[in-house]
């Protein structure tokens, strides 16, 4: 226990020294220099335009001046807000405050780890389960040298169960160990600014235990992969196919290639050619103009399927006129004409 107290005390002193260092009070203040110079330039141009009687130009420049003043005012308001948000002098944590915060972390979390060499203070959450998806425990690791940096901390999955489509997403709101704070951003920043470490870790932990549906890197519904629309198997990001017609998600086994255009489709968006039986999309099938069944272009001739084409040919043969048949007989008298020749009359 004493060892732990000494480490916590040493860490508290180091953190307080970090807070008291020069960088802690070097607030970046951005004044609207560019906007102000722009305002002055526009004002000079307006004066010149009025002197020369260019009233149209003066009117247009006046509108630009109004817009530039709006920009300048917004930038000044932002600078003022930045100054007001940094009030360390009023509620700056003392070394004893920080020490008490660290001790309180041992009651709040399963595990607390102080690494004086790496300048990190870490806590371990319990195992997190969100909507029946087990995400495991997380370590919230703060590097106290970067209290003013963004990000100042990382969220490390200790028993990762990452999203199927992205192994860097270990939590709906954690990607590459970076936590998107969402609703908690302002409060977390305030806690870090005032070095209220207990508040900081509690806030991050509560965020980890909350799921913001609709604003996640990967929604929990798709955590284990997106199901194939046909067979229901989970598909990871690299193995997804899409039906080119209806957009449904497919696995490699269920995606069907159209034999005409080679695009991939689901089973509902392809049909077999009524002659060859191969699968085609609707764009690569045409109706036979006679029977109105669907065929691929290879199985149609002059808009007719083979069967209808043969029927048409046969019909054309039947419709041929008779002379066409006589001319086909071999040359010479017919047997009948020979038979009809009268017998020779004796003298």
């Amino acid at each position: 226990m004493d060892a732990i107290n000494k480490t916590a005390l040493r860490a508290a002193v180091l953190i307080h020294e970090q807070l008291s260092g020069g960088t802690r009070h070097a607030l970046p203040i951005y004044l609207p220099d560019y906007s102000w110079n722009n305002i002055q330039r526009l004002r000079r141009q307006i004066d010149r335009a009025r002197q020369r009687g260019w009233h149209g130009a003066a009117k247009r420049l006046t509108e630009d001046l109004a817009s530039a003043m709006d920009d300048c005012r917004r930038e000044l308001e932002n600078a003022a807000r930045t100054l007001q948000s940094c009030r360390p002098e009023q509620h700056a944590s003392s070394a004893s405050d920080i020490y008490r915060d660290i001790l309180a972390l041992y009651d709040e979390f399963d595990e607390v780890n102080i690494d004086l060499d790496e300048h990190t203070l870490s806590v371990t959450t319990d195992r997190i389960v969100l909507e029946y998806v087990r995400l495991g425990a997380f370590e919230i690791r703060l590097d106290w040298r970067h209290l003013n940096a963004s990000p100042a901390y990382r969220v490390v999955a200790l028993d990762p169960n990452p999203a199927a489509r992205s192994e860097d997403t270990t939590h709906p709101h954690v990607h590459n160990q970076q936590f998107c704070e969402g609703e908690g951003r302002t409060a977390i920043q305030a806690a870090l600014a005032e070095c209220r470490l207990h508040d900081f870790y509690v806030l991050v932990s509560q965020l980890l235990h909350t799921y913001g549906r609709g604003s996640a890197y990967v929604e929990l519904d798709n955590w284990d992969g997106i199901p194939c629309t046909e067979c229901g198997d989970s598909i990871d990001e690299d193995s997804q196919y899409y039906c080119d017609r209806c957009g449904s998600t497919l696995c490699g086994s269920c995606s069907i290639s159209c034999q005409g255009c080679d695009n991939g489709f689901c089973s509902g968006c392809v049909s077999p050619c009524c002659h060859c039986g191969q699968e085609f999309c609707s764009s690569c099938l045409e109706d036979c103009s006679e029977c109105h069944k669907r065929f691929c272009t290879d199985c149609l001739e002059a808009g007719l399927c083979q069967s209808c084409h043969e029927k048409q040919c046969n019909k054309e043969k039947e419709d041929d006129p008779p002379q066409n048949e006589t001319s086909k007989r071999p040359a010479g008298r017919s047997r009948r004409s020979r038979q009809r020749r009268p017998a020779a009359v004796p003298a």
């Binding site: 009030r87 509620h91 008490r100 915060d101 309180a104 009651d107 709906p172 709101h173 954690v174 990607h175 970076q178 936590f179 998107c180 704070e181 969402g182 609703e183 908690g184 302002t186 409060a187 977390i188 920043q189 305030a190 806690a191 005032e194 209220r196 207990h198 508040d199 509690v202 806030l203 509560q206 965020l207 980890l208 235990h209 909350t210 799921y211 913001g212 604003s215 996640a216 890197y217």
Partner: protein
């Protein structure tokens, strides 16, 4: 009497506020977050969980942290 109040449901800054002597945690919560339910918050006094009827003392540090805070996509 004066206490340090940290309302993490919002801007999250620490402010000294003047409260009535002997005010309970429950009453303070109702005054500060009138539309909230105590069960939806982690309430800590001097970094420790306390019963709702605990009376506050001068200089106490009270933090109110919602249990449901949603993250987002960066």
């Amino acid at each position: 009497m004066k206490i340090l109040l940290i309302n993490n449901d919002g801007a999250g800054f620490a402010d000294y506020v003047e409260v009535a002597e002997g005010i309970t945690v429950e009453k303070l919560f109702a005054d500060q977050i009138p539309h909230g339910k105590p069960q939806d918050y982690l309430i800590r006094v001097n970094r420790q969980p306390v019963p709702a009827n605990q009376a506050l003392q001068e200089g106490d540090r009270v933090s109110l942290t919602p249990t449901k805070i949603e993250g987002a996509i960066a």
